[in-house]
């Protein structure tokens, strides 16, 4: 049913992603699909790397570790955004196209008041992506 699953990850908040990561791996095993872990970074240094190259190396290590521990085939994809706070959704939507994914599995926070003003990332991806989107609540 699915052959390429895209999983957006925030390497700084992996604990919040656990359910989504497990769910994606289970689906991948079930359908024999590959997973692409997508990370978004800025050109400026962050806690996760001095530059996008270092960030990418870290994401690769993460993908390899996931592949090993969950017994799946995994890749990584690093997307760069100038202003991640606001450009995250658009960057992820572009990554859906670039990775050729047919399913996106992503974690979401519990909806709250601010969602009326600032739509959640999961909500926007689900509304605009061309493929299926599974939003997993933490």
């Amino acid at each position: 049913m699915f052959s390429k699953i895209m999983v957006p990850v925030d390497l700084a908040h992996l604990a919040d992603l656990e359910r989504a990561l497990t769910c994606a791996a289970d689906l991948a095993n079930h359908y024999g699909a590959e997973i692409t872990y997508v990370g978004v970074t800025a050109p400026a240094p962050s806690a996760l790397g001095h530059n996008p190259k270092e960030y990418e190396a870290r994401l690769t290590a993460f993908a390899e570790e996931q592949a090993r521990s969950r017994g799946i085939k995994a890749h990584e994809f690093t997307a760069i955004a100038h202003d991640p706070t606001t450009d995250l959704d658009d960057t992820l939507l572009k990554a859906v196209k670039q990775t050729g994914a047919d399913l996106v599995v992503m974690a979401s926070h519990l909806p709250n008041l601010t969602d009326y003003v600032w739509p959640s990332n999961g909500g926007k991806i689900a509304a605009h992506a061309a493929c299926s989107v599974l939003v997993v609540r933490g």
Partner: protein, 564 residues
């Protein structure tokens, strides 16, 4: 914070020279939720700068006379000696006693930047040897102009050249001849020389020197962020000088000062800007000129800036800056052709020549008689540019990744300088033409020379040209939009500094700073105190000048390590 933070950072690939430090970006940050709002703020910079700003606003509101006496020197008791601190106030005292320090520092920044262009250090690429530019020339150029100078060009483009041309207050640059007699009659033989010096003296304040100040700060931040891997915040530029101490209180103080200068600089300009726009609206449409209209203007400007920061750097700030540059260019072209393209272009080249001839005498602080010009204008301008440099420099740094140092300095120093000289030649030239052609009836002469009424100088010049109703409206729109582009980029900068250099802090934080800035402006506008606080911001120019000299040393050290 996840446990992956300290794993897997590979060695840099020879393209850049990462500074090894144990500091992890965001390690001092507090990530929390207040109600439904997520926060990711630096402890203690966010809280201290927020509280200090509130305290100073309260001080300015409730102790207005004291605040004015300290910063602006309004002598209540009338017992102060002429020229003493309590007579002049902090700002004027600094610019009159330390004029030599400001002038020499600015000269050093210009020489430093020019040296970078011609030395091999110019070939270092910001972001590592393989980096590619994040923005094309048009967007990059529009952003650095709109953030740092746009609004000043609108305000001073007519005012300054005309003021130097015919000032009756003894501020003639280098003591140049006046083209008017005491009774306001033109003296034909003095016109050419007064005009030449007016253009040179204006260009001096808007060309190489201010842009060198911005370039030094921006280059330091870009270098230490993109090449050395330190967080995008002001303290990073001081790493070569203070070492690991920049992550402690030394750095907290530097960052807090920068937030302080940026927010008050923006808020006070926003307050004065609203008054200017209001004066324009009254002049063109007969709208009432009162606090209510000005508060509405501030709310409108802040609202548009909010939309811009919510849309982000690419979708908001860049787009708005580009729109702004197109409108400004159209206005420039209109004035150029309406006032006679041939004559004005000749004025531009004459301005360049005059600038080249006079820049050295103008930038020498010793043995000058024209203290009205040198202290009242030049030293004031230098302190002003320098107090704005943390904000503008940091914004320029953020959008300049992927350029070589040489390309960076040429584009931040030389090209904006040329554009500024052109702008001053066009707007100032058209205005001076009008003053000479109709010395009796000229509105420009009435607003600048006969009665000093700065906010109306631009509109007075536009009146002397055809289609004044349309161009004046465009002028008002430009003033407002230039404020928006300063306000939104300023909010992004403050947000990044108060998030410890993280540029992916939650949206509510940038909304907070943008709104806060508008509120501070409104409070000061209603309660008074705009002048006192602006004088205070300009006073921060003094410590920053010393800091900038240190930064030059840091840049030199950083570039040398990069070339090894």
């Amino acid at each position: 914070m996840s446990d992956t933070t300290n794993q897997g950072i590979p060695e840099p690939e020879g393209a850049s020279d990462i500074i090894e430090t144990d500091y992890v970006i965001g390690q001092d940050n507090i990530e929390t939720k207040i109600g439904p709002f997520g926060l990711d703020i630096h402890n203690p910079v966010f809280v201290i700068s927020g509280l200090a700003i509130v305290l100073f606003v309260v001080f300015a509101l409730f102790a207005q006379d004291t605040a004015n006496a300290i910063f602006n020197g309004s002598d209540v008791s009338e017992t102060c000696l002429a020229g003493s601190f309590c007579d002049l106030g902090m700002r004027a005292w600094l610019t009159s006693k330390l004029d030599w320090f400001f002038l020499w520092s600015a000269n050093i920044f210009v020489i430093f930047c020019l040296l970078l262009i011609v030395t091999p250090y110019g070939s270092v690429r910001l972001g590592g040897a393989d980096a590619t530019p994040d923005y094309g020339y048009a967007g990059w150029f529009a952003m650095l102009f709109a953030a740092g100078m746009g609004i000043g060009l609108m305000f001073f483009g007519v005012l300054e050249p005309v003021y130097y041309f015919g000032t009756p207050w003894g501020d003639e640059p280098l003591g140049v001849v006046r083209p008017f007699t005491e009774d306001g009659v033109l003296i034909e033989e003095n016109i050419a020389e007064a005009r030449r010096m007016a253009l040179a003296a204006t260009s001096y304040h808007w060309a190489l020197h201010p842009w060198a100040i911005y370039a030094v700060v921006a280059l330091a931040l870009a270098l230490f962020t993109y090449n050395k891997g330190l967080p995008l915040t002001i303290r990073s530029a001081f790493y070569p000088i203070f070492g690991e101490r920049v992550w402690g209180w030394t750095g907290h103080i530097i960052d807090t000062l920068a937030v302080f200068a940026t927010l008050f600089g923006l808020a006070t300009s926003l307050g004065f800007g609203a008054q200017q726009a209001n004066a324009g609206l009254e002049h063109v449409y007969g709208l009432p000129n009162n606090v209510t209209v000005q508060v509405i203007l501030i709310i409108a400007i802040t609202a548009v800036a909010l939309i811009s920061v919510l849309r982000g750097l690419d979708g908001g700030v860049k787009v708005l800056s580009e729109i702004n540059m197109v409108i400004a260019l159209l206005l420039l072209l209109f004035v150029l052709f309406a006032a006679g393209a041939g004559g004005i272009l000749a004025e531009f080249f004459a301005g360049l020549v005059a600038y080249a001839q006079e820049v050295i005498p103008l930038s020498n602080p010793h043995g000058r008689e024209d203290t009205g010009y040198m202290q009242g204008w030049t030293a004031f301008y230098w302190a002003w540019w320098i107090s704005w440099s943390p904000f503008v420099g940091m914004f320029i740094a953020r959008v300049s990744r992927g350029r070589t140092v040489r390309e960076f300095v040429i584009c931040v120093l030389l090209i904006p300088s040329l554009v500024c000289v052109l702008w001053m030649a066009v707007f100032g030239g058209a205005a001076i033409n009008d003053v000479i052609a109709n010395p009796e009836t000229s509105a420009v002469k009435a607003q600048v020379i006969d009665s000093y009424n700065p906010p109306l100088s631009l509109f007075a010049m536009l009146e002397s040209l055809p289609l004044a109703a349309i161009t004046s409206t465009i002028g008002i729109i430009l003033v407002i939009v230039f404020f928006v582009t300063s306000s939104d980029s300023g909010s992004l900068v403050i947000d990044t500094i108060t998030a410890g250099g993280k540029i992916d802090a939650p949206v509510p934080q940038r909304v907070f700073w943008c709104t806060f800035e508008g509120l501070v402006a409104i409070a000061l506008l209603i309660g008074g105190g705009l002048g006192a606080l602006q004088a205070m911001v300009i006073s921060t120019g003094l410590p920053f000048t010393a800091i900038l000299l240190l930064i030059c040393v840091a840049i030199f050290k950083g570039l040398r390590a990069e070339r090894r």
